[in-house]
């Protein structure tokens, strides 16, 4: 940003005394680095209303709990239409396969599911809470989400079908593909000249 200041008919000039003259000065302004202090401080309620994320270590998990039996009911009512009674996804709905495929990742025909590919139980909770069910995203209660996650992971034999998931137990779940991810080493083709 530049400020262009034109001074006309400056009557006093320290070099030329009384000679009136026009000068043009382009001033590069000092950087204004802030703080600008725009905006407002959000209330705790405003942040809480949208701070829905859940991290692998359990940060962000809400209170509440749920188990396999309740989750089965939630699944039947809210999930099965697209994800199927067999958890394989219903063609044409966009519902992904949720279970199966364990051990398929290096087969050349990988089947990426919650069971075979997802590295953290927190990711399942987080995604169901923010975006599922597809026709009514964000509509499940926290207990319903704990339940349906317990149901899925129980059906996948990742946790016991008698287990209850809550803010303490969910981060302790070990997913089969937890160590399946590596960092990005690219460039991986070296044609430099």
């Amino acid at each position: 940003m530049y400020i262009n200041i034109k001074l006309k008919s400056v009557s006093t000039n320290w070099l030329c005394g009384a000679v009136a003259m026009a000068i043009s000065v382009t001033v590069v302004p000092m950087a204004i680095a802030g703080p600008y202090d725009f905006g407002s401080t959000p209330t705790a309620e405003e942040i809480a209303a949208i701070d829905i994320d859940v991290m692998p270590d359990g940060r962000g998990l809400p209170s509440g709990s749920g188990g396999h039996a309740a989750g089965k009911e939630v699944y039947a009512a809210k999930c099965m239409a697209c994800h199927g009674a067999d958890f394989a996804g219903v063609a044409g709905t966009g519902g992904a396969a949720l279970l199966g495929g364990r051990g398929s990742l290096d087969s050349g025909k990988p089947k990426k599911t919650v069971e075979s590919y997802w590295p953290y139980a927190s990711t399942v909770f987080d995604y169901v809470k923010r975006a599922m069910p597809f026709n009514a995203p964000g509509s499940l209660s926290d207990d319903e989400i704990y339940s349906v996650v317990a149901y899925l992971l129980g059906e996948a034999n990742i946790i016991d079908k008698t287990a209850t998931l809550d803010a303490k137990s969910l981060p302790e779940v070990e997913m089969p593909n937890q160590d399946g991810f590596i960092s990005d080493p690219r460039p991986d083709v070296f044609n430099y000249d």
Partner: protein, 475 residues
Amino acid sequence: MSSTDKEYEQKMQSTIQGMIDAEQKALRKRRRQSEEAEACECKDGMFPSSRSDETDLTTRRKFLAGAAAVGASAMTSSAARAAVPAGSIDYPVQDDPTKVQGRLTSDDDGYGSRSQFEDAIRTRFPTATRESSWTMTPLDDSSGIITPSGLHFERHHGGIPNINPATHSLILHGMVNGAKKYSMEDLKRFPSVSRFHFIECSGNGLTEWRQPTLKTVQGTHGLTSTSEWTGVPLSTLLREVGVQDGAAWILAEGADAAVMTRSVPLDKAWDDAMVVYAQNGEALRPEQGYPLRLLLPGFEGNTHIKWLRRLEISDKPFMTREETSKYTDLLQGGKARQFSFTMEAKSVITFPSGEMKLPGSGFYEVSGLAWSGRGRVKRVEVSADGGNTWQLAELQNPVMPVCHTRFRFPWQWDGKPAVLQSRCQDETGYVQPTIKELVQARGLDGGKYGSIYHLNGIQSWAVAANGEVSNVHQY
């Protein structure tokens, strides 16, 4: 073959076939429109014509004539709009425009539309739902480096929200000294920057790993677009809230039905990230995140969170669905690359390209686009003999970092079969690899169609003796 194998084969086959069908449908439509443009000597006329849709064509011509006869009163009706390409209005065409006055100034109510004779449109991949889907930019019809805002490719995970900017806000919180909430008006008070950058979906070319699959450059490369973006450097906002020691990641979150999220390294946020509210001189298009999106120059498109509502600063990545189960690159051996953000150097010839037909031997200006997520394009070479010999192409100035760069190459076609290729080098020295080299590095165990994401290999277009151009693999 096991039942799992069969299931897999069927699923992949039907997915790919759906993509092919969708492209064919778009091509048929385009051929019809090309036929209707009488005596066209332009590049549009280089699309091969199809005579198989005569009935449909006749019906459509009658419809067009009818719409024209009704005249001005029908101009804004949906029927009249449907008769001409999207984004245009069906205005009467004068026999001799020098002998009658043209249409009235401001008859468009103050916002212009393109000519009804221009028909380039985005085409949608046939995903199961239209809420989670994507469209591709018609690069074969592109000129220069800017993508018109209405033709910018799209990728939505939960439809396109319609957001009132007066009620939209961005909240920064987490490991900060003081959380902040900004209205759109607040954000527009900050010192602004405008930069030209491409955005490319990491899935661009996902059908092309193993074999040439889609026919047009729109199908093979249409998930990249360039705009001028205006907004606030994210570093400005980070200084406002004061980032605490130990912070390393930012969660960016959208206000769409997917509440789309990605974790972004804090370094990127300090470096060149922006929160942008304008595109090509006007407010963002709704499909591009109106009223606010994140812009992460050179990072894969899905990280440029649209309809941005929240930035949470943290010490660790959040491991959301989009950065674990999606947008990770499964490799040979079963491990997957995660946080593979950078879009590596890539180029493609847009003219001539798949499904065009050259009318005969002689001069052609070969033209295309090159880009790199690591900086400026330094050099583009063109080969007309399938990569045996290469010659430098001319780059359009200015060459900007992390931006589409137009290249042009004069070519005298001798009428014999040829294979046209382009390869670029960016300012880091990295040279665009062949598809074969990428497959060697990553394997095809990500699935029958490869690792899916981050295919930046050299594209080959075969020109047959009869002038027909087609998508081929040649190393």
